[in-house]
């Protein structure tokens, strides 16, 4: 009897050995929601075909939590194998931890076709203080969307300029474009409740309209009072001052509130990111009823364009139990079949040669841009203190939204001087 038990135990141990020895799990933290999790795990299944026994698990956190958890985990050597997010957020965690060592070796090890398919702009945006810090996987694009049926209801066409936006917005707010008999619609949905992300809106309209820089230039000189920049800022503030263009509650709105207005059918014009359309194409009432186009024009000499909003990238953390395998997975996510999965789930990849079969019209708008893609200046990659300057500037914007300046020219001049002082402080 005792011998029998011993034999059973030995057999069980032998059976378990190969599985136990090769079973490995890679864990990724991101903030891209359920579709992001599906995306990473589907790529993981493909990866497992080449690496039997490997499973990939992805966890999505709200953005704020992702930031604080990632920094804490890096500082305590408890980070997962891989971290994925927009380049400016990976810059923040590096500036708060200094634990990431760069991915130059990983890029050097890519096959020629993959290396050639990586846009230089994406690599530039993935660089911090001269080090290629992260591996770009997606190039996120921001554009402008308008409810098609509302345009028809008020007899308008897609807005080409900001004057068009203000005119159409007024009609959306007053002419019951959804035909429900209630005065419950707004021209546009925005968020201005969180100064640390309000910049995404201003940057979309600014870089999309052709600005090279918004607050400072490459040398660190304040440029926000240059005539073109001032025009953008004045136009942005006007959005909040025009009667009914945005909900008065916008000043407290965060992204969740903004999306409620868009998805709930209460706002006619809105920001559209490539990552939005996969979800929106499944929302009844919104799917098929919005037109995506370029950012409304601010300057006559600039062609209609969209904004390269961010470059979403991945890093292998120093606390990974299996950094080589994690690096292989990251590189695998750049293969065409992985990039196709990204395109399907989150609306974008980074390679220029991804097969576009089976995409909806809205996905194709981003996957195969018909308009120039103007890059964000990504100055946080150049100046470690830039996020702090951005926050200081957006406090001034918040103040101007709450208390519209009587004399805009004087306000922009005074704000530029304040920012110049802030830059001097930050440089010290």
């Amino acid at each position: 009897m005792r011998n029998g038990l011993k034999q059973c135990a030995a057999a069980a141990a032998l059976l378990a050995l190969p599985v136990g020895a090769s079973a490995q799990e890679l864990l990724i933290w991101h903030d891209k929601g359920d579709l992001g999790t599906v995306m990473f795990e589907d790529i993981g299944k493909l990866f497992a075909e080449e690496h039997p026994g490997v499973t990939v698990r992805a966890l999505s956190f709200p953005t704020d939590q992702w930031l604080s958890k990632s920094i804490a985990a890096l500082n305590t050597n408890t980070a997962p194998d891989l971290l994925f997010n927009d380049n400016f957020r990976i810059n923040v965690i590096q500036q708060s931890s200094g634990k990431l060592s760069g991915v130059q070796d990983m890029v050097d090890g890519l096959d020629d076709a993959t290396r050639a398919a990586l846009p230089e702009g994406a690599l530039d945006a993935s660089t911090l203080d001269g080090t290629l810090l992260m591996l770009p996987l997606q190039q996120a694009t921001g554009a402008f969307g308008v409810r098609t049926s509302w345009l028809e209801a008020v007899g308008e066409e897609y807005p080409e300029t900001w004057e068009d936006v203000f005119r159409i917005g007024k009609k959306f707010a007053t002419e019951d474009p959804d035909g429900n008999g209630s005065d419950d619609t707004f021209g546009m949905a925005l968020q201005a409740g969180n100064p640390s992300v309000t910049h995404q809106m201003l940057e979309l309209f600014g870089f999309g309209a052709g600005l090279d820089h918004l607050i400072i230039d490459d040398e660190g000189n304040v440029v926000l009072d240059d005539p073109r920049n001032a025009k953008l800022i004045q136009t942005f503030l006007r959005i909040f001052q025009e009667e009914g263009l945005v909900s008065p509650d916008t000043i407290n709105h965060v992204f969740t509130d903004m999306y409620q207005l868009i998805e709930g059918g209460r706002a006619g014009m809105f920001r559209v990111l490539d990552a939005n359309v996969v979800k929106w194409d499944g929302i009844e009432g919104l799917a098929g009823d919005y037109t995506i186009g370029p950012i409304p024009s601010l300057f006559e000499d600039e062609p209609p364009a969209v904004e390269m909003h961010s470059v979403r990238s991945i890093v292998v953390t120093p606390s990974s139990d299996n950094p080589e395998l994690a690096a292989q997975y990251a590189a695998f996510a750049l293969q065409p079949e992985s990039q196709a999965i990204m395109l399907k789930n989150k609306g974008s990849g980074v390679r220029g040669d991804i097969p576009l079969d089976g995409l909806s019209d809205t996905q194709a708008f981003f996957a195969k841009p018909q308009y120039p893609v103007n890059p964000n200046d990504f100055l946080s990659a150049k100046f470690a203190w830039y996020p702090e300057l951005q926050e200081a500037f957006y406090r001034e914007i918040s103040d101007a939204i709450a208390n519209p300046p009587a004399d805009f020219d004087a306000w922009i001049k005074a704000t530029a001087e304040k920012m110049q002082d802030k830059v001097a402080d930050l440089k010290d």
């Binding site: 804490a72 640390s196 407290n252 965060v254």
Partner: protein, 315 residues
């Protein structure tokens, strides 16, 4: 010339061996009691005191290394930084103003409500009114504040619909700085006043009826009886409510997160919320320096209010 060597010093006296022996024998005599409370004392130290001590320690470290095994100590630099931050200073004053307004409003209205509810003429309606007052206290904060956020929405909120029906001008609710501040004062009052009222009601039930009877027979009017007979006997409830309210409103957080996110334009950026925002950006040093300042203010004000209530002679 007189020397002070003969003056007894209580602290030194406590260190005398005889005193220690006495304390030791006392502990030995009550050993069962000490053994029984030891696990709870240990739990309190580990779960209550240690996190506070740890928080204070982290407030002296560089944020980037705060969570590492060997943090870099910057000592008072985080405190210097936060007291050089205009946003922190405005947040501090705003929190104190909010607390003073809320404590006065809640304690006085709770006392008035308790006096009304305890009056004989309301005998039948009192339980229903008491229940109505206490319901907001037991309603989950998240649900409560979301509903108030919608109620005050300038787009579709019930408050403005009502004002419109009455022919009154719109109320900006949480969309303008000053109005947002007072909106939160009101919502917090609605949420908490029932609790303070119940404490007063409990104390009112314990009043000595003979004192009131004697005052009545002496010809005291109602307000004189309230002021000179009831209020002095309500001293325990006033003390508990004031201290609890000071602690409660200094730490105001959930209502800000749900209704205003600190805005508009930082008008409701109270200290707890600001520290939380710093924490979210992994600025642990400054976040915990702010939390420590808040902790010190909470303890300090609570002690002041307690001492004032202890010393005040209401009789």
């Amino acid at each position: 010339m007189q020397t002070d060597t003969a003056v007894p010093i209580p602290f030194l006296a406590a260190l005398r061996p005889a005193r220690w022996r006495h304390a030791g024998s006392n502990i030995w005599r009550n050993r069962i009691f000490y053994i029984l409370i030891a696990p709870f004392a240990a739990l309190t130290l580990v779960m209550g005191v240690w996190p506070i001590v740890l928080g204070i320690i982290v407030s002296f470290t560089d944020s980037y290394t705060a969570l590492t095994p060997e943090p870099t100590y910057v000592w008072f630099q985080n405190y210097i930084d936060i007291f050089s931050d205009d946003l922190f200073l405005s947040s501090l004053w705003r929190t104190l103003l909010f607390t003073v307004l809320s404590v006065v409003l809640n304690v006085t209205t709770a006392l008035a409500l308790a006096l009304i509810l305890s009056s004989r003429s309301l005998k039948l309606a009192a339980p229903i009114c008491g229940l109505a007052l206490f319901l907001p206290v037991v309603t989950p904060e998240a649900a409560t504040f979301i509903v108030w956020k919608w109620m005050f929405s300038i787009d579709f909120g019930a408050v403005n619909a009502f004002l419109e029906d009455m022919g009154l001008p719109d109320f900006a609710g949480t969309t303008k700085p000053l109005q947002a501040f007072f909106t939160l004062v009101f919502v917090e009052w609605w949420h908490h006043v029932g609790f303070y009222t119940i404490i007063f009601l409990t104390n009112l039930k314990l009043l000595d009826p003979t004192l009131d009877e004697a005052a009545r027979m002496d010809g005291a009017r109602t307000m004189q009886r309230v002021w000179n007979v009831w209020i002095p006997q309500l001293r325990p409830a006033i003390a508990i409510n004031s201290i609890y309210a000071v602690i409660q409103f200094l730490k105001t957080f959930a209502v800000v997160v749900i209704m205003t996110n600190g805005g508009p334009n930082y008008a409701t950026n109270f200290l707890s919320f600001y520290a939380y925002s710093k924490f979210n950006l992994a600025d642990y040093g400054q976040a915990l320096a702010m939390a420590t300042v808040l902790f010190a203010i909470v303890i300090g004000l609570a002690v002041v209010v307690y001492r004032y209530n202890e010393k005040a002679d209401y009789r």
